[in-house]
Amino acid sequence: MAEISEVRRELALDCFLLAGKVMMESGAETYRVEDTMIRMAVSQNMMDSHCFVTPAGIMFSPSNDLPTRFVRIHGRRTDLERVARVNAVSRRLVAGQLTLQQAYEEMTEIEKNHYLFPLWLQVLAAAVASACFLILMGGGWADIPFAFVIGGIGFYIVEMVLIKTRVKFFAEFIGAVAIGTLAVLAVYSGFGNDPDTIIIGSVMPLVPGLLITNAVRDMMAGHFVSGLSMGAEAFLTAFAIGAGIAIVLSF
């Protein structure tokens, strides 16, 4: 095995941990993060490295006699474009198309930037999705404008409350309350026809789809710690939405 100099090894470790951190923060599955980091390590001649990823932090040990490094993962924000970009950089590093230094620079570039679509476009997408689901779930054509508007408003409220409070479940709860209230008001004022389908369509953008898929895939790969915690998060999100709707319906 080739001897790796001290500086280069530190750079390699920084690079792996940065890649893992960005992927985990942007909503990748735990096992994919581990897989990516180990592959990158093997490409840099670290054959017996170990890696332990949880949704809250990443531990990486390059070999038996070198110190282990740790990074803490704070907020998570779904941004699959970043996952795809980090994945592409790591593939190129493993294939030898990039040097370690280049890969590290690209990773820092990715970490600094956010590739999110602008908020208005996301709200518009949520509104369109709500309107589509209204029809797919068997609603009437007359209710489409309500689902469109209410779905957009609900998504916008969740994003705003999330920025202000940083508590995800509270944001989803408030969003669900707003959706329920608006839908009931729309029907009460005589314009809407069926509050049930309007509500179902409008809460669809809040459904924790990414968490469900990630939880299932992590559990299958044997990562029970992160699988269970993501499953719990998905369950709590669903519960927050349900509780918000239930409060409105109980009046």
């Binding site: 699959l80 996952v83 970009r85 592409a88 997408a125 809460v203 895939r217 319906l249």
Partner: protein
Amino acid sequence: MNWPLEAFLSFLAAGAFGIIFNIPRKTLISCGLVGMSGWLFYRSYFLLFDDPIQATFAGAFIVAIVAHILAKTFKMPMIIFSVAGIIPLVPGSRAYNAMRNIVENDYMEAVDFAVQALMISGAIAMGLVFAEVIMQLYFKYQAKRTQKKMGFTQE
């Protein structure tokens, strides 16, 4: 059932979810196609056999298979494609009805809906698992064949 309309709507909905999850821009169309194939398969199975749980399993299975194939083609992580396709299968209306019946103190009805919602969520998970296992077996078989072709033999 209006096939072209449902196809269009599910395509649009999955694409919109792609924007919400911020998937890479060039995959938006393929993401919409994944959602469309999953939903159409789910609907046709549901109309043929009238069993929402099996239909959801079939839909999730198709979503995961198509997502795996696209992930290989684009060389990108598989969740990018599967995540938006799964959303239409989520038992939103059953969970909603369960909630409404709880509020109306009709617990027997609520339990009925809640169990259905739970079973359907399980069916989504099982569909993903089955597709994953089958695709992994297939990829392993394919890799072995290429290795043999290139003259490497594995002990």
